[in-house]
Amino acid sequence: MKTCLIVDDSRVIRKVSRRILEDLGFEVAEASNGVEAMAWCDAMMPDVILLDWAMPEMDGLTFVRQLRTEPGGTAPKVVFCSSETGIERIREALDAGADEYIMKPFDGAIVAGKLRSLDLLQAIAA
């Protein structure tokens, strides 16, 4: 079973994301900021990280930059999931090392589509 780490300081977003990801067949862990997320990754790298931008302690951008320098830190797919919707902000996230980007609000179809494009889900015929 593939693993997903949800990193978001909003308990509601974590709960909604967990439900979507578990429905898609992922084993899910949660962290509420970048520092907690880094501790998770030090213990075991997940297959995918769903990452908020603005968080206390360590924001998403700092987290992904640091993650990519860690041993094994290039392996997880990182999908930003943020209320930042400017093109320049999205470019900044991708340049920092994110693989994909979801703008909030989102739904299950959007998450599934992004994960499918990263080969984390089997293609489902339309």
């Binding site: 400017g86 093109i87 999205i90 991708l94 979801i102 179809a109 499918r116 494009s117 293609a123 339309a126």
Partner: protein, 263 residues
């Protein structure tokens, strides 16, 4: 709620005008498709809209209802495997076959433009595959074509199938919406076309896309459209159908698992 008689009338209208098969029992589907049209046209409900179409014999209003029922759910790069195959094999073969002549591509039921714009963005991102591309988009719905031409999509729409890297390369933010770059928009020409009409006047095409339309048509309309599309293919040309569309006897499977056919 739309009465059974009005739903049956709407189904018959869709069949007669566009060969479109609508199940009159699917009340929710019919009402949800017609609700935006009803609002736009100043009716209190979809039921009032259908009732007016029926009693007034209003040609324009009737088409608005049919167009709404024909609308597919749009998505950029729908079925990624199709685009991967086009990029890796089909388009290079077509370019080589055309030997410098224009390569003509037609998205025959383009809706709000996501399919043909996906191709345009893909071609723009493949500079080594140089050719004189002629891209066309057509649809039954005037309103869809207007939206396609504008190239303006909501946040929700650009997250349906469009990779983030493609988004930042080809779109800019305009208010709450995302605007496709003029360079990509200018690659495509648009026209309202009913596929039940005579298509021979539009010439022949190297690649035709007609995905997820046939499955919604009545059997006789499917045969008609398939034959018309087969006749519109240039020698060596390719046709892409949706995975649930039936290819019939008119088409030869090249890679039917992704809906790729030849005449």
């Amino acid at each position: 709620m739309i009465s059974p008689a009005d739903r049956a009338y709407l189904a018959a209208l869709c069949l007669a005008r566009a060969g479109l098969r609508v199940d009159p029992q699917k009340t929710y589907l019919i009402e949800s498709r017609l609700a935006p049209v009803a609002r736009r046209e100043g009716f209190l409900s979809p039921a009032d809209l259908v009732s007016a179409v029926r009693s007034r014999s209003d040609e324009r209003l009737g088409w608005a209802a049919v167009e709404a029922m024909a609308m597919p759910e749009p998505e950029f790069f729908r079925d990624r495997a199709v685009f991967d195959r086009l990029a890796a094999e089909v388009l290079p073969e077509l370019v080589s076959r055309r030997e410098g002549q224009p390569v003509r591509i037609w998205s025959t039921a383009c809706g709000t433009g996501q399919e043909i714009y996906s191709l345009a963005m893909m071609l723009s991102d493949m500079p080594r595959l140089s050719a004189n591309w002629e891209l066309f988009g057509s649809d039954l719905s005037e309103r869809s074509l207007e939206k396609a031409q504008a190239g303006l999509y909501s946040q929700f729409e650009v997250q349906r199938g469009l990779p983030a890297r493609t988004l930042v390369r080809h779109f800019e933010k305009r208010g709450e919406a995302f605007a496709l770059s003029p360079r990509i928009r200018q690659m495509v020409r648009w026209r309202r076309i009913n596929l039940l009409d005579d298509l021979s006047r539009f010439g022949q095409f190297d690649l035709l896309l007609c995905r997820n339309l046939l499955q919604g048509l009545a059997p006789e309309a499917q045969v008609h459209v398939r034959a018309a599309l087969a006749a519109s293919l240039a020698p060596g040309g390719r046709l892409v159908l949706g995975l649930r569309d039936l290819a019939g006897d008119e088409l030869k499977g090249i890679a039917p698992e992704i809906g790729l056919y030849a005449a």
